[in-house]
Amino acid sequence: MEIFLAQFIGPLVIALVLLTVGFFSGRYLEKKHYTSIIARETSPDQVMVFAERLPPPVLPAPVTQLVSGSVVISSDYFKRFIAGLRMLIGGRLNTYESLLDRARREAILRMREEAKALGATQIFNVKLETMSIGGRNPNSVSCLEVLAYGTAIIPHS
C-alpha cells in the first residue's frame, strides 16, 4: 500500500500542488508586473527609444554610449503545463507570449533607466536578444534572458 501511495498518488498530489501554486503566483506576479511596466512606460520623463541606426547629424556631435538592460525571467509550472498541452496540437502559446512580452518590455525599461542615469535623452539603434538559460535539457529550469541594447545619445550640456 505504501508503495502504491508513493508511486501513484505522490506524483499526482505534487503535480496538482505545483499547478495550483504556479497558477496563483503566476497570475499575481504577472498582473503586478504589467501594472508596473505600463506605469513606467507612460511616465512623461522617459528616455525615448528608436530602432533607427543614427540620429540626424548635429553640431557639436553628441556623446554616444552603449547602454543595455537585461532581464532573466522564469516560467511557472502552470505556464509550462498549458504550453505542454498546446505543443500537442499547435497554435499560439498564450502563456509564453505574455512571459516574453513582459521580459522584452522590462529589458527596454531597464535600458532606458541606465541611459537616463547617464544623462541621455534618446537611445538609437535599439536591439533585442533572447536566450534560454536552461539550454536544451528538458529537465532544467525553464527561464530565459532578454537583453536590450542600444546607443544612448547624451547631448552637450
Binding site: F4, A15, T42, Q46, M48, P56, Y77, G84, L85, N94
Partner: protein
C-alpha cells in the same frame, strides 16, 4: 524632425486571459481523447497478447537463470499446484513452475512463463490446506488466462504511448498516473476472473469449497483500517471478494461445508 515615443495599445502581442480557453479546451478535450485512445490500445493489446505462444514466455523466463529449487516445502507446493491445475483444467500447452521463498510476506504471485512465487508468510498465515489451495489455484488461473503476459503487454504499450506523446515533460507523469489507474481496473477484473476459476478448481479437487476464503478473512481481521478506496487498488476489496466468492459458490451449487485438511509445513 520631431521624435516621440507613443505607447502602443495592449492586446496585440499578448491576448489577455488567452490561456483560459486553452486550459479548458485542452485539458478536457485532450484527456478525454487520450483516455479513449488508451482504452482502445489496451483492448487491442490484451487481445493480441493472448495469442503470444507460451514457449516465448518460457524462453524469456529461462534467460532469467533462476536457480532450481528442490526443497520439501517446494515439492509439496508444486504437487498441490499440479493437482489443482489438473482439477481446474489448465490448458495442456501451459506448464507450472512453483517457486518458494522464505520471506514473511503474505503473498503469492504468478508471472511470465508459468512461474509462480509463493512466500513462506502465506503458508504460515493459513491454517487449512484449502486456504492455501485457493490462493494457489487463483494464481494458476492467472496463468491459465495469460494475465501476466497481458499485464506486461499493457504496461509496455502504455509506457510507449506516454513516451511517444509526452516525451520527458511533466505531463508524462500525470499521464502515468491516469494510465496506472486504468491498468488497475483491468487488474481488478482479472482478480475476479481468477477467483471464479480458482473456486471451480477447488470444488473439482476437494468436492467442496469450504475454507476458500480463509486468507481473505484473516487479512480482513488484520487490516481493519485499510484506507485506500477500491479504484486505487490492484485487488477488489476484501468484503467484496468474500461476498463474490459466496455468490459464485451459490450460483454454481458448490458445497460450502466440508472437511478441512491441515497445511504441511516443512522446516
Amino acid at each position: 524632425m520631431r521624435y516621440e515615443n507613443r505607447q502602443p495599445p495592449e492586446g496585440i502581442n499578448v491576448v489577455e486571459h488567452g490561456w483560459v480557453r486553452d486550459f479548458i479546451l485542452l485539458v478536457i478535450g485532450f484527456f478525454a481523447g487520450l483516455a479513449l485512445l488508451c482504452w482502445l490500445l489496451l483492448q487491442l493489446v490484451a487481445w493480441t497478447a493472448k495469442w503470444t505462444p507460451f514457449s516465448w514466455e518460457q524462453a524469456l523466463t529461462n534467460s532469467w537463470a533462476l536457480e532450481e529449487q528442490s526443497s520439501e516445502q517446494q515439492g509439496y507446493l508444486q504437487q498441490l499446484a499440479d493437482q489443482l491445475a489438473h482439477a481446474g483444467g489448465l490448458s495442456p500447452e501451459l506448464a507450472l513452475q512453483v517457486r518458494y521463498s522464505e520471506d514473511d510476506t503474505i503473498n503469492a504471485f504468478a508471472t511470465l512463463g508459468g512461474n509462480m512465487m509463493i512466500f513462506e508468510g502465506l503458508v504460515d498465515a493459513v491454517d487449512s490446506e484449502q486456504g492455501l489451495a485457493f490462493v494457489i489455484a487463483h494464481e494458476i488461473a492467472h496463468i491459465q488466462h495469460r494475465h501476466p503476459v497481458q499485464a506486461v503487454a499493457r504496461g509496455l504499450s502504455m509506457s510507449l504511448l506516454s513516451a511517444m506523446i509526452f516525451g520527458q515533460t511533466d505531463l508524462a507523469q500525470l499521464a502515468g498516473v491516469g494510465g496506472s489507474l486504468a491498468l488497475l481496473n483491468y487488474s481488478r477484473q482479472q482478480e475476479n476472473e481468477a477467483d471464479r476459476w480458482a473456486l471451480q478448481a477447488l470444488h473439482n479437487h476437494y468436492g467442496h469449497v469450504a475454507g476458500a476464503d480463509e486468507l481473505f478473512r484473516k487479512l480482513k481481521e488484520e487490516h481493519d483500517d485499510l484506507v485506500l478506496p477500491e479504484w486505487m487498488s490492484t485487488h477488489p476489496d476484501l468484503d467484496a471478494r468474500i461476498a463474490n466468492l459466496e455468490k459464485i459458490a451459490r450460483d454454481n451449487g458448490y458445497e460450502m461445508d466440508g472437511e478441512l485438511l491441515p497445511v504441511i509445513r516443512g522446516r
